[in-house]
Symmetry: C2
Subunit: 350 residues, 2 copies
């Protein structure tokens, strides 16, 4: 069990779409946390190249995160209307709207690579793989971690054979990990999710969502998590591939919101013009919308225009520090320990 | 500072509209927590009678919670349309839609009573009173606690002279305490709110929202709160005035959602028919909608029809126990202590 072997109960969340780099993963692992590579939106060969690059940089255990493909069918009418709407943005940034076809993010080829590369931890987001897939990964020696957002998903993942559950609270930045993206479902806060799952399921739990400093990590440990998974807290590290305009936005006290405007799947980012103008119209259509907006977002990034692309961020993004990733890991762990000692002392004095 | 004198870091949230009773407040205070009376929706004389009844039952310190009145003006058109819509519900329950006038919940008369009764703690919800009001309450010896939901409200309350901030996370049941009820503002999870406020404001903090068991209390203490405030966790106690159909709903694993359908102000309750049918149409118009739906809700309660009235509940309501309030307080405190000891031991072993 890798969770028991870490120096610090700190996991770096996979950050698909730019911020994730082998350097970041290596730095977190080298400092005694657990780093993740984000395989999402990559080809299988690119994923394999990153795994091999990481192994050149570090001998520490690490994880790779895969996005589980959903069904190909979406509500065509709403998607068509939304693609028409995106023409205005394409015109603004002088690009074409991207090809909005379904794809499965190279699910099969990536699993094949992971079988061959014998990766220590494989985590899943957007669903739970069938138990046959989990069993076959176990056969390679891997631990299988599944990300869940409610109690039903937690039971499903436990039933399929997951070794560890990553609990993602509504506070988290980036995509909601829900198995199915549904309208009108309110997400649970991380503490609620942690207590509901801990009451019913006897698996090691990792808490994620809005955790950005030591006392917040202490909190989820006290509530029964074995470790905390942090994404936004690492996005200002020099090892992260975070876009410069995105880095600047993370440091500001701007609110975040959930939106499907950028990708067709619910995700949390800092509120900006694109989100305000398109959230109401955006359909549930992933990865179609993600591919349609890709050229627009790339052009906005190129211009340094933070109003034109997705500024994924958790609710506590303003607490993220601009420090080397190893220093972030060590500082968070020390601060968590200090918070626990402080409260133990105070309670002992009563 | 009353927070320093409590045997247990546990505050019973004021539960206006039924569940709050002097017996509940007395039981919590008698067990070494801090109980609150909910003055909302009462007349000033009724509030005074409850304070005096409580003092017959218990000599422990207690609090009284007041709702701060907002502006009288609302978007008339949406309110008028909503009142027409409510006719169907009034017909279903064979009552008339209530009088949807603005009122200030007897703000002035209640403050006068509180000045005379010399209440130990006075908390405010839906806003922060002017500093003159806070100063005058301080002159009676009272502590003034203000409920806040974001960093800007926390700064405003600190600036006005609040002694303690109650931080309400998005997980909380019942009304959001926001100073102004706005559309399209996403609430912060309790851990995020706690860390953002603790980083900037040096006042004692009480954490509220979805906290329903000992490990969750341990979590907010580790994250820097001086105490936890729990509402739903006390609603199944025999001392609470919770309606029977509401009690039953709390024990089920049903989801909650935020809605303005019942009161014209955002509040969290268990999802039911009334909420599903009217949430989209409900305007920001408090207390007008609250008064309009009052006869409908009363009739639904009378019938035991849990689909026709507001089932306020926090996200973790399924963890609430049916036990005497004093046992709830002691059990929560023991479980919180055990959770902190467990994690301290585990971290020491690393």
């Amino acid at each position: 069990m890798i969770l028991s072997e870490l120096d610090h109960p700190i996991i770096q969340a996979p950050l698909a779409g730019g911020p994730s780099t082998p350097e970041l993963t290596a730095a977190v692992g080298g400092a005694g946390g657990l780093g993740f590579l984000a395989a999402g939106y990559q080809t299988a060969p690119a994923m394999r190249a990153e795994i091999r690059q990481l192994r050149q940089l570090s001998s520490a255990p690490f994880g790779v995160n895969l996005l589980v493909p959903g069904p190909a069918a979406v509500a065509d009418h709403r998607l068509t209307t939304y693609l028409e709407r995106l023409q205005v943005e394409a015109h603004r940034y002088r690009v074409e709207v991207g090809n909005a076809d379904f794809d499965d993010d190279e699910w099969g080829p990536k699993l094949t690579v992971l079988h061959r590369e014998r990766v220590p931890v494989i985590s899943f987001t957007f669903g739970c793989p069938p138990s046959e897939v989990i069993d076959s990964l176990h056969d390679t020696g891997a631990e299988v971690w599944v990300t869940v957002t409610d109690l039903a998903e937690a039971h499903a993942a436990a039933g399929a054979g997951a070794d560890v559950l990553i609990l993602q609270g509504i506070e988290a930045g980036g995509h909601r990990a829900s198995f199915v993206d549904r309208d009108r479902v309110e997400g649970l806060g991380i503490l609620v999710l942690l207590r509901l799952v801990a009451a019913e399921i006897d698996l090691p739990l990792v808490a994620a969502g809005g955790l950005a400093d030591g006392p917040a990590i202490a909190a989820v440990l006290a509530a029964g998590a074995r470790a905390a998974q942090l994404g936004t807290a690492f996005m200002r590290a020099p090892e992260a591939g975070t876009d410069p305009a995105h880095r600047e936005a993370l440091a500001e006290e701007e609110p975040t919101a959930l939106t499907r405007a950028f990708t067709g799947r619910l995700a949390r980012g800092i509120v900006n013009r694109f989100m305000l103008q398109h959230s109401d119209a955006a359909p549930i259509a992933y990865p179609q919308v993600n591919k349609a907006t890709a050229p627009i977002r790339a052009a906005a990034r190129e211009r340094g225009d933070a109003d034109g692309f997705n500024l994924w961020a958790g609710q506590a993004h303003m607490l993220a520090k601009e420090l080397p990733a190893a220093e972030i890991v060590r500082g968070l762990s020390e601060d968590a320990r200090a918070a626990l000692e402080k409260i133990s002392t105070r309670r002992a004095e009563r």
